[in-house]
């Protein structure tokens, strides 16, 4: 089956590896990702903090493009892009005036047809149906991931229907189980890494990350796994700094969920771009004979 795909700016830049992995891994699960044409930035948290109209209008343009793409569903792997796009769709469903105002500016109008999917919506479905386990050639025995959801995978600033628990989500654990990895139970899975504060309020962000690192290490995790490009970049790029500042010796690789699935499918380290991690990410897998 083919579905529409919105990668977002991160997946075209600092987390381009996630884009490659999504296409490859989902392709092998018979989901063809068709990138919508000429998409724009969703505005992320910056638009929400600056202007209410822009925060809806930017993702609305992408919704218009997706609505006329001919596909019934669109997958958005980035937690922030998914959140902003879903909020725009929900807001425009009930606010006809705003929809008209925005549609007046758009060449491809919002019709409210496209169904939005997060990456976990897809992967949990493929885990429950047995498709992931069937394609997982190598069981990830010995891998003990701390499934790190961060904020936006489960929390929204409005009421939305959720398929997972807000406080103790299990989506990634479900996928890990299908891969034979033993996800640990821990307390910081939905805590914030600071997001853009890593750049504009570094000390605060480092402190938040140190709390997450301490708990994961204390519970015996040997890696993190995440779906959010912002969480991945922060926990990967700043882990060493946070560790040094807060006296934490463990440095755990921060995998995207697609990397774990990819490894279990037998996709090579270079093809998955596992060499693009700040915290070395292949040693652990080699030690467990998974690469």
């Amino acid at each position: 089956m083919e579905i529409a795909y919105y990668p977002g700016c991160s997946l075209h830049a600092s987390t381009a590896l996630y884009d490659v992995q999504c296409k490859e891994v989902l392709g092998r699960l018979d989901v063809g990702l068709k990138e919508i044409k000429d998409w724009n930035c969703c505005g992320a948290t910056s638009a929400a903090k600056t202007n209410d109209f822009l925060a809806i209008a930017l993702p609305a343009r992408n919704l218009g493009i997706a609505d006329s793409s001919g596909y019934a569903e669109m997958m958005i792997p980035c937690a922030s892009c998914y959140s902003r796009t879903l909020i725009a769709q929900k807001t425009l469903e009930s606010d006809k005036d705003l929809r008209d105002k925005i549609n007046a500016e758009l060449s491809e109008k919002i019709q409210g047809k496209i169904k939005l999917l997060s990456i976990l919506d897809l992967l949990v479905k493929k885990s429950k149906s047995g498709e992931i386990a069937a394609k997982a050639e190598k069981k990830l025995t010995g891998l003990k991931p701390a499934c790190y959801y961060g904020c936006l995978q489960t929390r929204y600033p409005m009421d939305v229907e959720l398929s997972d628990s807000i406080e103790n989500p299990q989506g990634m654990e479900t996928v890990c189980k299908a891969l034979g990895a033993e996800a640990i139970d821990w307390g910081y899975k939905t805590d914030c890494c600071g997001a853009s504060a890593s750049v504009n309020d570094t000390d605060l962000s480092i402190k938040l990350m140190s709390n997450i690192m301490k708990d994961a290490a204390a519970r015996g995790a040997n890696c993190f796994v995440t779906t959010c490009p912002m969480c991945q970049l922060n926990m990967d790029a700043y882990q060493d700094k946070a560790g040094k500042q807060y006296g934490i010796s463990e440095r755990l690789p921060v995998y995207f969920i697609t990397e774990l699935i990819g490894v279990s499918m037998g996709i090579g380290a270079l093809e998955l771009q596992l060499d693009r991690h700040f915290v070395e990410a292949t040693g652990l897998l080699r030690g467990l004979n998974l690469l």
Binding site: T50, N51, L58, R61, Y156, D275
Partner: protein, 201 residues
């Protein structure tokens, strides 16, 4: 956390509470100060003001306190306060509204770097339709440097900032996680139109 005395100005209280409630879409009067939000707020220790206090400032009409506190700037938009609130009040939406009001009233941001970050992000979006990390960071660094030179820590602070970013930039370059070419969309004029409409230009 030191307790803070809030002043009540009954005549202005109604108008501030109403404006913030309407713009943020949050029913502030439903807050009964249970402080579940405060318990979950990841930045409360650093800001000295927790979501419950911020709501109280607005409800009591203390405009000065509501527009001049660190929670508005340090809120990381994690949305924990809102999802845990028994009355579904999303205080993160309130910080968003207050930040917009500060901008509209040309008040000095208490955390200029945060303000610069978000305006640089959106400027980059409006130029190309997508955020280009290199251009975006250049705009952010320039704005922050101007700010440090005119009001803040001077050259020393600028050098510290740049050094910090250079280290990250170099590591990203080495790991091929830095995107050098510019990603520009065909519909950039449409995005620019939405941006201008939003900014009242």
């Amino acid at each position: 956390m030191p307790s803070q005395t809030l002043t009540v100005e009954t005549e202005v209280a109604g108008s501030l509470a109403q404006e913030v409630a309407e713009r943020s879409g949050q029913n502030l009067n439903a807050c009964y100060q249970c402080r579940r939000c405060a318990a979950g707020c990841p930045v409360g220790d650093d800001t000295g003001v927790t979501p419950d206090r911020l709501i109280r400032m607005v409800v009591l009409g203390d405009r000065d306190a509501a527009l001049n506190n660190l929670l508005v700037w340090k809120c990381v938009a994690c949305y924990t306060c809102g999802t845990r609130c028994p009355n579904s009040i999303h205080t993160a939406r309130i910080t968003e509204t207050l930040k917009q009001m500060i901008k509209e009233q040309h008040l000095e941001p208490m955390a200029p770097k945060v303000a610069n970050f978000h305006s640089a992000f959106l400027a980059s979006t409006s130029h190309f339709g997508r955020v280009n990390e290199m251009e975006f960071m250049a705009i952010y660094d320039f704005k922050t440097a101007v700010n440090e030179l005119t009001k803040g820590g001077g050259l020393k602070a600028i050098i510290a900032d740049l050094k910090n970013q250079m280290q990250l930039g170099q590591a990203m370059m080495k790991l091929k996680r830095f995107h050098i070419s510019i990603d520009k969309i065909k519909g950039v004029a449409e995005v620019k139109r939405l941006y201008n409409k939003a900014m009242g230009k």
